[in-house]
Amino acid sequence: MQAQQADDVAFLCDWLRRAAQAIEERRDVLSALDAAIGDGDHGANMARGFRAVAEKLRDPPADAASLFRLVGMTLIGSVGGASGPLYGTLFLDMGKAARGVPVLDAAAWHALLSAGVAGVAARGKAAAGDKTMLDALIPAAAALSGTDSVRKALARAADAARKGADATIPMVARKGRASYLGERSAGHMDPGAASSALLLSMLAETAA
């Protein structure tokens, strides 16, 4: 049990470090997506947040639930903007769902991500099709259902998230800053959907 926990925490730390690096590398791409239909800071916001997360990973807590909670609190306290509370809520609610979960298998990931995504939807009062991060996160959570290896399940989730992000391109935004543009928001990928897809692709890569 303790060995399993240590494995899970190590896996999550590995993922989050990769995610932090990937976000740093894609910082300008994410900001450019945001500049097209928002205020151009999404890359900077995410980079600031995940730098703070990486800092915390030097001395991680002993179990997955606590780690999720720490990541959530760290993002809330460092990102700001819309994505800070939303990603923060995602991790906080994944943390709540992770309590007492013995091992992070495919079913557990499905339960966790579903809980997190529900939290994001509640916090942001948004739904599928609003052209937000939810359009990557909802299909990703759905893709985790079924009985499969973690590796395959996470690969499917990453794929679904990427497709979900692509699908935001033609959408007209109804939530977040892009909604102010009305019809002009169509034709651009939602930056939050792009960063969600990136997080999930790093997760799949970590499991691969």
Binding site: D39, G40, D41, A44, P85, R177
Partner: protein
């Protein structure tokens, strides 16, 4: 990127240090978490007024901290809402038993971060109420969207509620007054140039020499549409028409007319826009009883203007006229 800065990551911190040095008698500045409070906070027997939002809109909000306006302001990174812990710390620093009103511009980020801060404050036993400002008629309002943005009306709400709070108003009446200001204020803006967020280093959008962005917010977002450059009179007309129609403003309404610069527009141009807006309002039969002209809610160095029109009640007028002593607005004190 041509700016009077040292390093993009240091912009907010150094600007706060500059404010602290310039206004030692008026303000106290805390760094990490960043907030600005009245030098004499917490003021005994007073309901606290707290606002905040991304930086880059100076003098809003930090320049409105002081007697007769805000008790605290929380500046986020440039164009990025502050975080809940930061808002909580600022609220704690200025709030007594009468509680605090959070004046929040309606942006998803601001709304959620202030919401979380208010939840945390209530857990601590601090009475907190929030009022959203959403006066930008450029955005179509709808139940299914994020709704309208908070822009120029915020400045007026902060002054008027500040006057009331200074005069002893309690939290429920401040909430009512702030909602009433918001219900009676409408704004719209246009940009002649983009702005550049220091951390990004690139202009927020590209405009040809003869184009403007119409229906712009205050975060360098593109506006509702891109149109050819027009005369000041015509731009004022195009901004005023939807404002007048939206409330709607009616003959003989007493109003405050606020012509705002977005940061890179000089005062001489704002006077020309004010002239046009004043004529349009007068032709509409409005009584323009108060005016404000200047750059009070900005988008970094963006050139452009926004117009805000507030229908005044007697209460609002009294609290608008009440003394204030802040870095950016100061009268009667």
């Amino acid at each position: 990127m041509k700016k009077l800065i040292n390093a993009p990551e240091q912009v907010v911190t150094e600007a706060l240090q500059g404010m602290a040095a310039a206004y030692p008698d008026l303000l106290k500045v805390n760094l990490d978490p960043d907030f600005i409070i009245r030098a004499d906070a917490p003021v005994p027997g007073k309901t606290a007024l707290v606002s905040g939002g991304g930086s880059g809109h100076e003098p809003m909000h930090g320049g409105f901290v002081g007697l007769g306006m805000l008790d605290a302001a929380c500046p986020g990174a440039v164009f990025t809402s502050p975080t809940p812990d930061q808002i909580l710390a600022a609220t704690r620093a200025v709030t007594g038993p009468l509680g605090a009103l959070h004046i929040v511009k309606n942006y998803t980020g601001d709304v959620m971060n202030f919401e979380m801060a208010a939840e945390l404050a209530k857990e601590d036993g601090i009475p907190v109420e929030s009022v959203l400002i959403d006066d930008d008629v450029a955005v179509t309002d709808s139940l299914y969207t994020a709704g309208r943005r908070g822009v120029g009306g915020t400045v007026l709400a902060e002054k008027i509620c500040g006057g009331a709070a200074e005069a002893g108003a309690d939290l429920p009446s401040l909430v009512r007054l702030c909602r009433e200001v918001n219900a009676n204020v409408r704004s719209m803006g246009a940009a002649l140039t983009p702005c550049t967020v220091p951390q990004s280093g690139r202009p927020s959008f590209e405009l040809a020499g003869n184009e403007i962005e119409f229906g712009i917010g205050i975060h360098g977002e593109p506006g509702r549409r891109r149109i050819p450059l027009e005369s000041a009179d015509r731009i004022a007309e195009m901004l005023m028409a939807p404002i007048l129609a939206d409330l709607p403003f009616r003959r003989n309404d007493p109003v405050l007319l606020f012509v705002n610069g977005l940061g890179g527009t000089p005062l001489i141009e704002l006077y020309i826009v004010y002239r046009a807006a004043h004529r349009i309002a007068a032709a509409h039969g409005l009584q323009i009883v108060r005016s404000l002209v200047g750059s009070y809610i900005t988008s970094l160095e963006m050139a452009g203007t926004s117009i805000t029109l507030l229908r005044l009640t007697e209460d609002m007028l009294r609290h608008w006229d009440a003394p204030c002593l802040t870095p950016a607005l100061r009268w009667g004190a």
